[in-house]
Symmetry: C2
Subunit: 615 residues, 2 copies
């Protein structure tokens, strides 16, 4: 189906909005009146710009407070409408949105409303324009789609139809089933928005908190199915008022928006992008760093062995159990400091996974970085993290592992690690019982947190859990986990309280172990430093839970945190931070969460540690 | 009365919170449990730190889900309470807050609740501790203060009383009159918070949107009067959960918080700071600039004459009618670029105005900058703007004007203006009919918008109007005007959408004229450049209003914007921006607003102009 977006959904000048919509693949736009008023381009210039960009102007919006008002007021409204219809002709827009009245003088008189709308439609028809009448959720007398449709039906004019808006319908809890009773040709337009399920004033909710379909709590797809059952064949158009999008760059927001419509079309069965290929595990996490030594020291103390080196690039593979970490010191890395740059995901069908990602607008990365490398499928996530779709040790497919030569300290080695960590001369390790990567925590750009969850859900086929708030000493964070069914892929998406918030710019890699106490001890014995946890935390644990003799003392000594849920217990501890990355050792005995209960203590301890070491 | 603040109301580590509370003048604190848990200081160290800072620990909070739960659960609760009472003894805190239960297993049984609370109080008494039971607005069975008090009364234990919280009471619309029936000695604690009047889920409202008394929509003072009528003599304590304060620096937030309690005490009649002295006019606005030439060019074209020069400093006085603008090129100014740095307010009693400001925690500025200057009373507003309390031409008082020598171009002149603007050799001007400063627009630091309104209201005795939202192309702004009764002092406080938002860092000076068309023409003839307004705006004006022949064409030609309200019409236009400042010419024929309707068009036009001129 054709896709469209209201210019109010994007930030910037009208030109910036149109360009972003076109580049993201939209077929058309709704022109929001205020965006036109504020533009230095005249209507004919906007029309030409849209044509150049391959965009139709599907709607001009909004006209307000037209119907069921006193006669003198209505005469003024018709005069105003004539001006706007002339403008629309210059603009080349043939449908206008009329919202149900919120005018203080509007009366509750459906016959008068129908009469006024019929007169308006008659005038519109002279200009070749159609009027789409929509019930605002907070309309003075008309605030349900059924009521708006009854008035349109009574007015009975060919240039008058209705506009449906998923927010106005679903925010009031109206049942969208009744839509099926409206003839499709009388549905002149369909506006789509989702929203988080907030119990708040509907006007404020609408103006500040709308989001793209699939990012909120509404069943937008269910509504669209009802609309399609009528034979509606107009565009699917996004109209999203959102304080965050107003500040975000228009380009990425438009991509996020268009992806949401692609997913929606798949959900309702009118589009069939390549099917999702759900990852079945984490092949590796890749750290980039200007200086491998501090990372190598921590990995060594964690019991990782430097198992292999990339044949052509300064990338080491560190391994313990099934946990693999690449340490990349190549040139590009030097610019960004130490950070988590890429994730290798085990994929049953790497090429298929990449095809789906590409269809859902993820930037595809070059398959082969160098002539001799294995050709790998990879895309970029919204936060810039590179996602590699891997087939480790499957002979029929390109294998990332084949780019690495076994054995550390080979001819490409630019550093000799030595010292208090786990690698001996043979590349073997003392080990700390780490079995695999439990989860990866990625910090998201502030303006794209909702996009990130939808991306991981739709592109990778992961399941998104509920978002949780976590108190940092310097602001409230939000965190949301995405996982596959068996929990072998878990990614925690985090975001700070504000665009400037740099308190949480610490990504981390959590390592699964079956005995976190033993792992923590061995890490310390190997010279590793664990994050100190305040003694007060353990006094509180003692008040909340009963522990075996000595257990709490062990946790206190090592800095191990404790939580439990209905499924089991959770014990975890943290290394000190290197650059923007730290490691977590976790022992997950059935527990399904991520220790959110302990996150405020961890965050405060990290601030303390940073203040102490001046990092 | 004694004042206190909950540590959760301030950002940072526990140490930072305590320091900020002490410096702002609080007598005590409530220690929020999570702040203690996250602190590396043990209870005894926190106790010592508080003593050093002159702070008592008035409350430890919160204990949750204690009462009316199954017996096994209650036994665990008593065990937990014993731990916490031991902790409180180490901390030196003698009152604990217990919130009404939200536990899923809690039963609706007042007798059981009273029995459990009596047992808890009995245990507390052994530790010399008092239990203050509070109804959460979202408590499972107990959610009104009256209900909580009935249970406390039934429990009838000397170590058990109630805690009242203005948010929990007023957010539910409970009538606070019933408080007067509770014996004062059974009100163990009083927590205060205000909140904007939002129709939203009360838990979310409470956790994210509370603010300090006087900054929201609740009648907190009325509630406090009821509490005081009982004989309550404990502290007035602020407990404010707010997403913005969580990110703001603790120091300024604590000052803002304490000021709100000082004003509250004055309102309820238990404190008598020096009375407000409402300003009666704007004596001057002071611009600082590293380069006087661009500012002088605009002022000259606006018809201002350079009327005088400061006797000892590089400050020129430009005047037209009663509008006076100081242009300061002194060294300090060079660091910040061109901006609005100070406002002279005509005051019936400058010293009294300064005494009130000081009593309400405004930083007092040195009265005399140099030995020969007139001693002026001045304070700093929260945004750093210097406010001078002036007595222009009143012989009995120090006169700022006496520091200036009449006649421009004197021996201190470092620049000769010349060219296409209004000053001739004698310091006289062609004039554009500007009569006085209509209003001043100041950009507020993002974290202190609510503080700014309370400051101007309480310190200066101005009236604060409603806050309005204004759409900028790159984010939503908020704006709120403060005025005196006759409108001779009007200050518009603006704030961007986010801490990083630099789109609105343009302060401005609006100049009142009785004929904006004539003024705009003369400005242009004198070489001034007005902000171009898009033609589309005038098409819309034509659709919305009827104008005399040629009127709209004139507005279009000059870039004059138009609005009207119930009181009259408004015509206004803008100069191009110099540094961070621009000027507005306004013709206000009874109109009471500030052209908010036109602000989105103005903001977009400023972005366009900036893009065009590369500024």
């Amino acid at each position: 189906m054709r896709t469209s977006i209201a210019t109010v959904s994007l930030s910037g000048s009208l030109t910036e909005k149109l360009t972003a919509a076109s580049r993201a693949g939209f077929d058309g736009v709704e022109i929001f009146e205020n965006d036109l008023l504020a533009s230095p381009l005249g209507p004919e210039e906007v029309r030409a710009r849209c044509a150049d960009l391959g965009l139709s102007i599907d709607l001009y919006q909004p006209m307000r407070d037209i119907e069921a008002v006193p006669a003198e007021e209505f005469a003024r409204n018709l005069r105003r409408a004539r001006h706007k219809f002339e403008l629309m002709r210059r603009l080349g827009a043939d449908t206008v949105l009329v919202c149900s009245s919120v005018h203080p003088l509007a009366v509750d008189d459906d016959a008068l409303a129908a009469d006024h709308l019929r007169q308006l439609a008659q005038l519109a028809q002279e200009f070749g324009i159609r009027v789409a009448y929509e019930a605002l959720a907070w309309g003075r007398h008309v605030n349900t789609y059924g009521h708006a449709w009854r008035i349109v039906e009574a007015a009975d004019h060919p240039a008058l139809g209705t506009c449906l808006d998923s927010f106005h319908i679903l925010s009031r809890g109206s049942d969208p089933k009744g839509i099926a009773d409206i003839p499709g040709e009388k549905i002149f337009f369909l506006q789509l928005a989702d929203a988080p399920l907030l119990a708040m004033d509907v006007l404020q909710w609408s103006r500040h908190y709308r989001c793209f379909p699939g990012q909120g709590g509404f069943d937008v797809a269910g509504l669209v199915r009802n609309v399609l059952s009528t034979g509606y064949d107009g565009p699917l158009s996004l109209e999203v008022f959102n304080d965050v999008f107003r500040q975000a760059e228009a380009g990425p927001t438009a991509v996020d928006a268009h992806r949401s419509l692609l997913v929606l079309q798949e959900t309702v069965g009118v589009a069939t992008p390549p099917a999702p290929v759900v990852p079945t595990g984490v092949a590796f996490a890749e750290l980039v760093t200007p200086d491998a030594e501090p990372v190598a020291a921590v990995l060594g103390a964690l019991g990782f062995a430097r198992a292999a080196r990339h044949r052509t690039k300064p990338v080491d593979l560190w391994q313990q159990g099934e946990a693999r970490i690449l340490v990349n010191t190549s040139g590009a890395a030097r610019r960004t400091g130490t950070g988590l740059a890429a994730i290798g995901l085990e994929s049953p069908a790497p090429a298929g996974a990449a095809r789906r990602a590409e269809a859902l607008l993820a930037p595809v990365l070059p398959r082969r970085r160098a002539a001799e490398d294995a050709p790998l499928d990879a895309v970029a996530a919204p936060d810039g993290t590179e996602l590699f779709f891997c087939a480790t040790d499957r002979p029929e497919l390109p294998n990332w592992r084949a780019d690495f030569a076994d054995g550390a300290g080979g001819s490409h080695s630019t550093h000799d690690i030595g010292g208090p960590h786990g690698t001996d001369g043979t590349g073997r390790s003392h080990g700390t019982g780490v079995r695999r990567i439990d989860h990866l925590a990625l910090t998201q750009p502030w303006h794209h947190f909702d996009e990130a969850a939808l991306f991981h859900r739709s592109v990778l086929g992961l399941h998104a859990q509920e978002s949780v708030d976590v108190a940092d000493p310097y602001g409230l964070m939000r965190s949301r986990a995405v996982t596959n069914a068996d929990g072998s892929v878990r990614i925690a998406l985090g975001v700070g309280a504000a665009p400037t918030d740099d308190t949480v710019h610490a990504q981390h890699i959590a390592l699964a172990t079956s005995d976190v106490v033993a792992a923590a001890r061995r890490f310390r014995e190997a010279g590793g430093r664990l994050l100190p946890i305040p003694a007060n935390y353990y006094d509180d644990l003692a008040a909340r839970h009963e522990f075996a003799d000595g257990e709490l003392e062990t946790y206190r000594e090592l800095g191990i945190l404790y939580d439990r849920d209905a499924h089991g217990e959770f014990r975890h501890c943290y290394t000190m931070t290197v650059g923007r990355v730290f490691f977590e050792l976790v022992q997950r005995d059935g527990y399904r969460g991520y220790g959110a209960q302990n996150a405020p203590v961890r965050l405060a301890a990290q601030h303390t540690a940073r203040a102490v070491i001046g990092g």
